[in-house]
Amino acid sequence: MAEAGRRSYRVRDEGEVERLLEALAGAFALGPRRRLARRRQLFDTYDRRLLAEGRLLFREAGAGKGSLELTHEEGRSEVRLAEAAEPGLIAEMPPGRLREALATTVADRRLLPLVAIEERGFALALLDERGKTVARLAVVGRRAEAGEGKPARLARRAVLEPLRGYEGESEAAASALGAILATPAEGFRAEIDEALVATGQPLVPPSPKVEVPLDPAEPVVAAAGRMVGELTRVLVALEPGTRKALDPEFLHDFRVALRRLRSLVREVERVAPGHGVKRLRSELGAIAGRTGPCRDFDVLAADLAGHAAEMPAWAAEGLAILDHHVALRRAEAQREVAAALASGRWRRLLAALDHFARRAAATAAPEAAPIGEVARRRLAKAQRRFAREAEALGTHPAPEALHALRITGKRYRYLLELFAPLFPRPSLAPLVDELKQVQDLLGRANDFAVQGEKLRQLAAEAAHSAPRALAAGMAVGYLLARLESARGDLTRPLARALERLAKPAQRRRAERLFGGSE
């Protein structure tokens, strides 16, 4: 229950510890030294949503199950469970304040161990003239551990924990420490960042939406090399979570990074063939192909869970059978993902991407036009193609036409995102936003089509193997009807979103930004 205002100082050597204890002894009576040994494991979502809010979820091993505490960066405790199991999905946590406090931020993401910090040293109380504890000091050697990596040594620290109601005394202790120690006081966050760096983890979570700064005059191959390098690092960072299925979002982001890379490599192939890019593109496609089914089952499983609450009783039994089949098929698909990422082919692809990135980034001579020029040309063409296909849709578009438009839109969007650093953000944002709305709707329509197909397959499987095939068939029938209805519901919003995108102002904006034709 440490109060806000916890201060942590790096300590260089034993001499410094002696000096700081002497300084404190001048102002306080010091309690006896107590041995301190603790290991705290920090949990967060794959994209570190809690850290982004300045909140830390620590699990500390204890005699029983161990405690779980949600604190703020400055040390203020928000919720503490004296005994709690390792956190995972919010839905699996026992009802109560911790679950409530985490639910909005964490949503349906899994809480994963991010880094463990082990501390060994001593603690003592700073006492006033009546022998009352007014602050606590710990001097600890520390090491951090993450995943399967080796423990990394961290800086030794002196940690001053103030006590509520004795703020003046804590300030006095902090002044005494500040006068002795060479480094300024730091908060919890600095300690976490230190542990992340020491265990080889990035301070910013890996995201396929990484933006690589671009110079319009830079040769396109050199710029592409840097972008490929960055996206390859993202793939590598996401790989363990994807392989172990720690959270479906790992696979999602992994596939987004793959798609961006494919898009980028395709562009390089257009303007500067060679460099082995054709091979890279086909290998990226192969990995995308092996990871796609698993993602489809993730989406289907999430949608089935969404349907469960509204399912009529007569279809609920069948839904449970379908859930079971989806889980089986998903597990199969996940094994395929794990096999793909454990293969020599995948390692060779990573090596080839790395090789391309380093060789291309070092390209000095402009082999092709500068990236600014290429980007404008390619974006102008992609925008026109997308607009043309959108106009041709008509009022009752065929599913095939919608699918084709989705693919064209995806390519356009990836180009927009890849080349975004070349354009002023305020000018580009409306184009990206409008396109994103259309793409989301097209994506949902596609999900419904894919899910319809998968549900039919599952129903056929259930008919062969499950004793309750009729129930499964009834659930599939119900779900197909809902999917069809949901697909119908998309028609009007999609038409409106396409209308907005086709507005002359949007076209003029695109023309102003991207200029003439290829």
Binding site: M1, E3, G62, S67, S77, E78, V79, R80, A82, E83, R97, A125, R130, G131, K132, T133, L163, R164, G165, Y166
Partner: protein
Amino acid sequence: MKIVAVYNFKGGVGKTSTVVHLAALAARDGHRTLLWDLDPQAAASYVFRVESRQRVGARKLLAGERELAELVRETDWEHLALLPADLSFRKLDVALAEVKRPSERLAGLIRPLIREFDLLFFDCPPSLSLLAEAVFAMADLLVVPLVPAPLSLRALSQLHAELVRKGLGDLAVAPFLSMVDRRKSLHRDSSWLSLRSPYPLLETAIPYSTLVEEVTVRRQPVFAFAPASPPAVAYERLWAEVKGRL
């Protein structure tokens, strides 16, 4: 936040020792614990070496001019904070009598602390007052130490009648035997008390021990200086039983 009130309107039954140990054991188990010392004798505050630094005044608190949170002070024990007894709390009864819905007003004082603490223990003054009534209305569990004597049973029966009269008949009440001296025949066989008690007694009995008296000398719970002693073991058991009731 769960609220436990330790109460008996008969004095000298080991009430403060009970609340000191239950709160300290809860904190030791990692529960963020607050002890509100409502007894003007301030024995719990004394044991935990916490003194009130400012006189706030009961009326100002109830009027919302001051926050109860300002008065919270951490003890020497990790996870254990205390609202020290303040002489002005003597007037809390009078101040409560002056306001409408006194139970709700007292609950309103505590509301800002609900997210900060997992457990709140009240060390109640030995009186059947408006303040005690307001505490009962908020409490999840009323822990009542009883010295095995006919007058204790009478006091418990009176408490039961009072709770029923005030519409608090559903309040969970957990009486237990305190200061049990095996040399006394009444204490050796207390089955008569169990049979006549309006509430089932907790299984744990706290033995009479000079070690418990030493708590106020050493200003530490007994488990801190005599962890294997009979009273330390008994308080552990009592805490386990109380925790099981929450």
